[in-house]
Symmetry: C2
Subunit: 462 residues, 2 copies
């Protein structure tokens, strides 16, 4: 367990007070089948369950009675045949003791405890959990997200959003693994090596030094595909390799960085122009990230700077404020500036991005591009967010907007057409909001300024 | 796609004739959530779907009308927003054309096609597939395995059991990756390196050269835990490192090998004695593996040899035949000699091991140990099986049998007690049943004879 028993007890006590009534039901994750029941993916405990109980085993569920204060851990001990195959494991009583829960009951008795009570549950994302909730609560999986408890969602978001010192230390450990992954990609990503070879090595570094990648690696010469997975394509000089990846520690805290490196080792003039815009957008966000500022406003400031600079390159035109208000910049950056990060790489996204990144003051937009801004609300000390501007030339999107004349007042399509073979650039770092500003997470900064990237590649390329 | 359009058409035609009536429903796999809906594990298509359609995309299902011969592929094309995030993909019509299916319909219309018809389906193992089948067929997930079509199961098992030349070539490619994994483990597994570090490197080799490991790596000094996953323990001189792992190619054919290597580089006398027994059991099986022989009989011959040799070491006693009949050897080898291998590392295990490894002639045993024999029936040319004897000293099992006096007539518990710190040894290879015998799969043989292992480590240890 990452933290002391007292930490978990305090967290649950706080949760119970925030929710106030009824029962809180928190199911853990089970092993999930890959290609047959017994062949499962690597175990990944539910983040909220880990946050409140610190236990990694499968087959667990927990109930907190907000009215009586009674806490119960549900699960079954294993028998001798299981021990032969999977080894001895901590028994249920020991696990409950370790996280400070007084009562243990078999999993099959979970239904009895819920009968006739108001049950708070979070939106389930694992399909076996959906089947469990269906059996327990009589709700079809398609009805469960809307029936989830807003009181519980808000309480969990409130608690998990602000990271403790111990959590930050664990994220720093994840960033240290992320550093190894990204510098390895820079070293390996030369002409002729495939994107999937590089990506596989990164999987290995994450698994060797932590547990698993925090999401499927994006390693590609097609940076313009925002979540483009490797396809076995050999890297080619003249192109950029975009690498967006991160690690999870064994306690499942994440890192998430992006670097864009020239395969040849040097940026050409056109790449340098676009790259430097992204660097400046990235750095502008760092200057503006501090408690009290809204990430929405920082995102918009970045979009305005990007628009100004793309105007200077002859790719955009017209009034900058108007262009950004119209969403014209989203042709180039159709995503948001960043997201919360923690035990989930998009922290708590499964609870509903609207509750994590927005509030009564800051409401989401439905405009293309801005709608993908996952985090918008006012920053607080202890938030961990990503700063990840990017510029992409997406042929299908350019064709679509050009044909439909979308934002034609602000876009120089004739010039943009020339960039359809460009790809995309993104630079991403993980940032902790401090008392009066922000700081990078990770002891060593992965090189990102243009000269630093070129120097790193020149000195380390394998 | 791995094979020609004609291959897939012929396979489906054969399947349709074997099943004979009603509709065959074959759902593909979807991306499966890890810690929130959009953060998914690496995609892994269903093996049977791949076998008959060769298509890797998620969100697909297929129906074959055994009566009219009509074939339909169900799925939805993606829109511009998906293209921005995930890139352009082959559209449904192109995919259907590629595998020789004439009709394409949206996924939402799948239910209409099934209405009022007899539907053959396989036992589902993904929980989202179970929810789909529940909605389509009105069967609760807990009822689906028993409601699955025996006719379809038998037809699929019959076809997938005998591997074609193209399939064997693909398994050889998986074995080549497996060779890299196992020799890397031998090179890396020195004192002080953790089991999870070694395992992570193997993950990387599998991902860099293929797609994913064929199951979660077993890398451990506790070989006596049959499916022991790494726990971050530093390797120690004097212990053995058991490494059981395999790769999947990008087309999802598997390898599966086990090697047991001394951390120090040399076996001590006690380790050497046990190791040589396992080698001889492994080689005996190779001699006996040929068309017409039952794998059950080979398993039993191995158990008898093991018993003879353990008697010579003073660990067993009494009549060998009687000891094996009583299952006394299962204290040391509580698992079966091997299993089918192909697109699933335990090939088709999800369809029911009883249909894959047994038949009317060869029936399963419920005796501890023998009950875990996954493959028992008569061998045929083109079968791919594993040969994987092992000897383990499982402290909990020894204590249990000793206390209960289980098989006390055949076991020298006083001597066995001295081995409770030993661990376990397994040696596993993938074997193709040929016209008149068998051969190893994989161009290069991973060293397994004692002197070869020691030599390899001496020459390559990092």
């Amino acid at each position: 367990m990452l933290f002391s028993k007292e930490t978990y007890i305090q967290r649950r006590e706080c949760l119970r007070r925030l929710v106030g009534d009824g029962l809180i039901l928190l199911p853990g994750n089970n092993d999930t089948p890959m290609n047959y029941p017994a062949n499962t993916y690597k175990r990944r405990q539910d983040s909220t369950f880990l946050y409140y109980y610190g236990l990694h085993r499968d087959g667990l569920a927990a109930v907190i009675d907000c009215e009586s204060g009674q806490e119960t851990l549900f699960g079954d001990d294993i028998d001798i045949e299981d021990i032969v195959w999977y080894g001895s494991v901590t028994d249920m009583a020991q696990m409950a003791e370790a996280c400070g829960v007084s009562a243990v009951r078999p999993l099959a008795s979970l239904g009895d405890m819920l009968k006739g009570r108001k049950v708070h549950f979070l939106p389930p994302y694992r399909h076996d959990t959906q089947i469990l909730l269906m059996d327990l609560l009589g709700l079809h999986p398609s009805q469960q997200r809307s029936a989830a408890s807003l009181a519980l969602i808000h309480a969990v978001v409130q608690m998990r959003s602000v990271k403790s010192e111990g959590e930050i230390a664990e994220i720093e450990r994840a960033c240290a693994i992320g550093y190894k992954m990204h510098t390895a990609a820079m070293m390996l990503g030369r002409q002729g090596v495939t994107d999937s070879y590089v990506s596989g090595v990164l999987d290995g570094i994450a698994a060797s030094n932590g547990s698993i990648t925090s999401f499927q690696n994006i390693v590609t010469m097609h940076g313009e595909i925002l979540h483009g997975v490797p396809v076995g394509e050999p890297l080619r000089n003249g192109r950029l390799m975009l690498c967006d990846c991160g690690a999870e520690t064994t306690e499942h805290y994440c890192s998430d960085h992006t670097r864009t490196t020239p395969v040849s080792g040097s940026f050409d003039a056109r790449q340098a122009d676009i790259y430097d815009i992204v660097v400046d957008c990235h750095d502008l966000a760092l200057d503006a990230a501090r408690p009290g500022n809204r990430w929405w406003d920082v995102h918009m400031a970045v979009c305005r700077l990007m628009t100004d600079r793309l105007k200077a390159l002859g790719l955009m035109k017209g009034d900058t404020e108007e262009a950004v208000r119209a969403g014209a910049h989203a042709l180039f950056m159709p995503h948001g500036l960043g997201h919360m990060m923690g035990m989930d790489v998009h922290d708590m996204e499964g609870l509903g991005q609207i509750y994590v990144g927005y509030d009564d003051e800051t409401r989401p937009s439905s405009q293309f591009g801005t709608a993908s801004l996952r985090m918008a609300r006012r920053l607080e000390e202890g938030f961990v967010i990503t700063d990840e501007p990017g510029i992409y030339f997406i042929p299908d999107l350019i064709d679509h907007w050009h044909a439909e004349g979308i934002n034609a007042d602000f876009l120089c399509f004739d010039e943009i057409e020339k960039y359809k073979d460009f790809g995309g650039i993104r630079i991403e770092d993980d940032v902790l909001i401090t008392k009066d500003g922000c700081r990078f997470l990770g002891e060593e900064l992965i090189p990102y300024k243009r000269a630093d990237v070129e120097r790193y590649v020149a000195e380390h390329r394998m």
